[in-house]
Amino acid sequence: MAIVYETPKALLDVPTHYCPGCTHGVIHKLIAEVMDELEILDKTIAVAPVGCSILMYNYFACDAIEAAHGRAPATATGVKRTNPDKVVFTYQGDGDLAAIGMGEIVHAAARGENLTSLFVNNCIYGMTGGQMAPTTLPGQITETTPYGRDVKLEGYPIRVSELISTLTGAYYVERVSVDTIPNLLKAKKAIKRAFENQIAGKGFSLIEVLSICPTNWGLSPRDSMKWLRDNMIPYYPLGIKKNTNEEVR
């Protein structure tokens, strides 16, 4: 008997604090599998966000720096510019990246920083208990939109991948999801491409991963996946938004 699937080495064998069904665990695994396959664990530095995944540095086996809220792209820039031979990735939620951190992600992309950026989008602020995020959908009920997001008062959600893809400095931008196995495999492929781009010195890659938050959505993990499919994918279409090297598909 051969092992078909086991936990990647780049993840430490520790239980996580994430809620049951939280896709942070899934996305961490995909990144770790890619790190194993590309054999980059030894030279990778993770830059962690503020949010539910603030403790991700306890789960990855590589070196890590905890960034201030929203500032991971700037912190990662500081690391990568001074350590160009290392692999540096950022991992941010929708508050961290698209609210307080919008300036930093736009400028890191515009400068074409040779980084790999992961954006975990679940349309809500998880850690602080379910408030509206820049990516919360119109009509979606959150703790700070108890009657549903009203576009007249709270405006419209931001499609980050499309926004970043307009920047000439952005080399590769793709939106993926982890709700089904085929989507999960595509997500891993995208993440791998984003790391390979950095290793090849190509510039800035952003992978937006549509994710669930069963606890704050008030749904079971299984129902959350359905909610993602029915509501998020229509608003945030999956696919490659920017691919500077057209040969890479």
């Binding site: 890590a64 905890e66 700037a74 820039t77 690391v79 510019r81 300036g103 930093e104």
Partner: protein, 356 residues
């Protein structure tokens, strides 16, 4: 070495940093220190080091945090409102125990204020600047030569203690030109940066740069550790200068930076008029040179006069040091106005004459 070069303060800061092996500069334009960034942008690329103009001061300090976290000697430079923006970052850097140098060329405040020189960031600098219990050494040069020496010292102090260090000048020092000599410096024994998050490279345990300690008793232990470090710094790193304080005097002026240069002239004028006035010039604002006051408290008849380009900030540290034993008065100008030596002397005479 031994050759004197005429340099503008802001540019001398940059040159000193380069000589101190600063490998990365992240900054943002703001008057009156933009020349630091401009100078670094010309020099750093040429010598294979990192220069990046960040999108904001917030981004700049977080870039410093990243570079410092990976074990690289780095710095930023800004002025008052920009330093305010950096406050969170400075707190994070101190909490994560990372070395870096932060230059503040102070301008008039509060708010957008003016672009003229001031000393109204004393509270902010000496009380850490950001949130939480922490401190950073604050070095206050009074000449371009001293600026050059202190910037280089700052990098070493930062590395030795794993702490951010601030070099605080003002718009006057930043803009003026004076002869500077870049002397050879004795080698300093610096600790290894084996804590840095710069990739495992065969290391068995990963390094995490972090300031989050969710359990209260663990965070308390961390705070106790930081306080012990600050106690070491207070013991070892105090610097000050005393002028005309050896004999008994009528009054001792207390001033730092640009204001201290003006006060040196006030002391000279006072001597000519037969008044016995001394000067304590703090060079480290934190740790505050309490011992200078312990040495002189019995010698000064009418106490101390704090002279600042602010509404009175250092005066409170003097009051703490003096502890009510002698009077402590204040004279200052704010808004970017530079005090005139005649006005300072008149205030001194008022204190001495009025008391008589």
């Amino acid at each position: 070495m031994g050759e004197k070069v005429l340099m503008k303060g802001n540019e001398a800061i940059g040159e000193a940093a380069i000589r101190a092996n600063c490998m990365a500069f992240f900054g943002y334009p703001i008057t009156p220190q933009t020349e630091v960034a401009a100078f670094m942008s010309r020099r750093m690329h040429k010598i294979g080091r990192v220069f990046l103009q960040a999108e904001s001061e917030v981004a700049a300090i977080n870039m410093v945090y990243g570079a410092a976290g990976s074990g690289v000697r780095c710095m930023t430079s800004s002025s008052s409102p920009g330093i305010s923006l950096m406050s969170e970052g400075i707190s994070n850097i101190a909490a994560a125990e990372l070395p870096c140098v932060i230059v503040n060329i102070v301008r008039g405040g509060p708010g957008l204020g003016s672009i003229q020189p001031a000393q109204s960031d004393y509270f902010q600098a000496t009380r850490g600047g950001g949130h939480g219990d922490y401190n950073m050494p604050v070095l206050a040069p009074a000449s371009i030569q001293e600026m050059v020496d202190l910037v280089q010292d700052a990098f070493d102090i930062a590395d030795i203690y794993r702490n951010p260090v601030m070099v605080m000048g003002d718009g006057m020092l930043g803009q003026m030109m004076e002869p500077v000599e870049f002397k050879d410096r004795p080698a300093v024994n610096l600790p290894l940066k084996d804590w840095a998050a710069n990739g495992l490279s065969g290391r068995k345990t990963h390094n995490i740069i972090n300031s989050l300690f969710l359990e209260a008793d663990i965070l308390e232990q961390h705070n106790i550790h930081l306080q012990a470090k600050y106690a070491e710094i207070m013991k070892n790193e105090v610097r000050y200068e005393m002028i005309n304080c050896e004999e008994n005097c009528d009054l001792i002026l207390v001033a730092y930076g640009t204001t201290s240069r003006i006060c040196k002239n006030v002391v000279k004028s006072a001597i000519k008029e037969g008044l016995k006035i001394g000067l304590i010039r703090p060079i480290t604002l934190w740790p505050f040179p309490i011992e200078a006051f312990e040495k002189t408290i019995t010698k000064t008849k009418y106490g101390f006069l704090s002279v600042e380009m602010s509404c009175g900030q250092m005066v409170y540290d003097i009051k703490l040091a003096v502890n009510g034993i002698k009077p402590v008065a204040f004279y200052g100008r704010s808004g970017g106005v530079v005090p005139h030596p005649d006005d300072i002397l008149n205030k001194a005479k008022e204190i001495i004459g009025g008391a008589q």
